[in-house]
């Protein structure tokens, strides 16, 4: 058992933990002792082999972390970099009206604006050059505009993207600006100590209890021996992500925790739907995402973004089985893809809990009727876009047998119905867990203060997506980084 002394121990290395590490780098250079503990392995970009079956292991629970009612599959990265080595890099600022709706004192549009600009520059977020826009995106823009929808260009955080198109299996070229490529290496250069395969089980005032696990073949070997470790630290920053941070705090059984711990968990439930086009589309090649439509955000709480998937996940998303399913899959290269993202309401009932004994996070999330209505409307709008773009068949799970043919295109609203959203059969997915340690001023209805200090535990900070008091509506990583930047401000003050 070793007991080194640290000024700060960061738990988790994703968008939140990576940002904290980077902000502390100048102080580390001057002698601040900081360790970053990550439960997952350390893979470098050469590990990513673009094979769907092999790369399941980059994710918690093989990329299909189910809620108990079986209506949602969470996708979250488990490796150095967290979810950022597998994110698509779609970059959104928190919308001003959402920031105001969050109503967190000091968290204002004006406070966030300069942070967003700096962070965007750090990760090189910009619109894609025309040569990176693939056919799925071109057809989406044409289809949506023909339907009278306004398409907006996404900003993406890549530098020197080679257009491999395998972004969600890890960027093999290092072009995607993840914390694995940007923030962590720069903090390591300053002297940050990274301990990978180091799963934290419990935190207490002044101490972190963890265990170093076996390093999988092909990943960076461990520097420390496998087994239990306990590190002492002045400050502990938990950045284990919205699925894990609330469970870790619950498992730590800290005194006087807010009754809202783990609660107000939101996920942006989503469905990816396809249409087959007469021409070859190859939606998985080149950069996969360039446009979105927010016309239905206010009316139906749903965004439409271009999407892509490799054959395995595409097969899963397409309804049915047997010979008919095979027939649909044979058109894989002709498939357009759209993802529907519902911005779900934050409710007290939806929460992350810790399994007694092991501390395993349990995602006690129930898909609401409102979310189902949003996803059904999203399927209808996506179907209209597909047909307007020229598709001959559209695969949406809430249609009879999961399919609409071109000659049925005027009956979309009658065919795609809430009644046909059968739970258990249709499983939405999420890559945007948020909330569970929401910010606020009062411990009775929030876990952290507006700078991520856990109420009543001045040594303990949270810096990740669990801070969100409600859904961000948009893809969240930049907001996670901006909130973590605020957490770093306060931490640096307190260290002084």
């Amino acid at each position: 058992m070793s007991s080194p002394e640290y000024d700060v121990v960061i738990v988790g290395s994703g968008a939140g933990g990576g940002t904290i590490a980077k902000r502390l780098a100048p102080l580390i250079e001057k002698g601040l002792r900081v360790a970053l503990l990550e439960s997952g392995p350390r893979y470098d970009r050469t590990y990513f082999n673009q094979r769907e079956a092999d790369m399941q292991s980059l994710f918690w629970e093989g990329g299909a972390w189910l809620n108990p009612e079986g209506t949602l599959q969470m996708v979250a990265g488990r490796m150095l970099g967290g979810s950022t080595p597998v994110y698509t890099g779609v970059t959104f600022k928190l919308p001003d009206d959402v920031c105001r709706e969050w109503n967190v004192p000091t968290l204002t549009v004006e406070d966030l604006a300069p942070r967003f600009s700096r962070l965007k520059e750090e990760v090189g977020a910009a619109e894609l050059p025309p040569e990176r826009i693939n056919k799925n995106n071109e057809l989406f823009a044409a289809g949506a505009e023909a339907c009278g929808m306004k398409t907006i260009k996404l900003e993406i955080n890549v530098r020197g993207c080679k257009g491999y198109g395998f972004c969600n299996l890890g960027c093999a070229s290092g072009a995607k600006q993840s914390t694995l490529e940007v923030q962590i290496p720069s903090a390591e250069e300053a002297g940050l100590e990274v301990i990978h395969n180091c799963h934290v089980r419990r935190v207490e005032d002044g101490r972190v209890h963890a265990e170093v696990l076996r390093a999988p073949e092909g990943s960076t070997p461990n520097e420390r021996p496998e087994g239990k470790i306990s590190l002492s630290a002045r400050f502990i920053v938990v950045s284990a992500g919205a699925c894990s941070t609330p469970a870790l705090l619950a498992a730590s059984q800290l005194p006087n925790m807010s009754p809202t711990l783990g609660r107000f968990f939101t996920v942006h439930p989503s469905l990816t739907v396809n249409g087959t086009h007469p021409e070859i589309v190859d939606s998985h090649l080149n950069f996969p995402k360039a446009y979105y439509v927010d016309d239905f955000s206010k009316s139906h709480d749903v965004y439409l973004e271009t999407a892509f998937y490799y054959p395995g996940v595409t097969a899963k998303n397409i309804d049915g089985f047997g010979v008919e399913h095979l027939r649909r899959m044979k058109k894989y290269r002709h498939m357009m893809a759209i993802i529907l993202l519902n911005h779900d309401a934050a409710t007290y009932e939806n929460r992350v809990a810790a399994e007694p004994g092991t501390g395993r996070p349990v995602l006690e999330y129930q898909l609401s009727e409102a979310s189902i209505r949003s996803l059904v409307q999203g399927q209808r709008e996506a179907a209209r876009v597909f047909f307007a773009a020229g598709c001959t068949e559209v695969y949406v799970p809430s249609a009879p047998d999961g399919m609409i043919t071109r000659d049925q295109k005027d009956d979309i609203d009658q065919l795609v119905t809430v009644e046909r959203y059968q739970k258990g059969r249709i499983i939405s997915s999420s890559a945007h867990p948020q909330g569970g340690c929401r910010m606020g001023t009062d411990a009775s209805d929030s876990v952290c203060d507006p700078y991520g200090v856990v109420h009543g535990q001045p040594w303990l900070r949270v810096a990740d997506a669990s801070l969100f008091p409600k859904s961000s509506h948009v893809n969240p990583y930049l907001t996670v980084m901006a909130l973590s930047d605020r957490v770093a401000d306060r931490l640096i003050d307190d260290l002084a």
């Binding site: 079956a53 093989g62 054959p311 047997g322 044979k330 092991t358």
Partner: protein
């Protein structure tokens, strides 16, 4: 290996209906995928396979693998869209494993004219440790 002999027998019969083009390799890939799930999920999957294996006996006096392909399909359709939520969940869950195992791996790619990886890198088959299954109480 996480599938027992009986489970392998069941899964082959399931595959024949759900993914008719799948070959024997898919069983191995699926087995590996199931092994990478937490122990509690593996247990649920095994339970579903056990139930789906014997359930047809009460109607057709045969276990699932001994039914004709047509009868297996009818039975699976009933599980897939029927009134029992747990059966639906089990069916669609196992279907996902079967589809990911078939389409996520090389064997199916030619048929789709899918080019597969662009980079040439070794296979990555070693599974990481699930920290909650391997450790004792927190």
């Amino acid at each position: 290996m996480s599938f027992s002999e009986r489970q392998t027998h069941f899964f082959r019969a399931f595959l024949e209906v759900v993914v008719p083009e799948a070959n024997e390799d898919v069983v191995g890939v699926a087995d590996r995928m199931v092994s990478s799930k937490p122990a509690a999920i593996q247990k649920k999957m095994r339970l579903f396979m056990f139930v789906a294996n014997i359930l047809p006996f009460f109607r057709f006096f045969r276990t699932f693998p001994s039914l004709s392909v047509q009868k297996r399909e009818r039975f699976l359709r009933w599980l897939a869209t029927g009134p029992v939520g747990l059966f639906r969940l089990g069916f669609w869950g196992l279907r996902s494993v079967a589809l990911l195992a078939f389409y996520g791996d090389e064997g199916s790619w030619k048929g789709l004219e899918y080019g597969g990886p662009i980079v040439d890198r070794p296979r990555r088959l070693d599974l990481p440790v699930d920290p909650y299954d391997t450790l004792g109480d927190a």
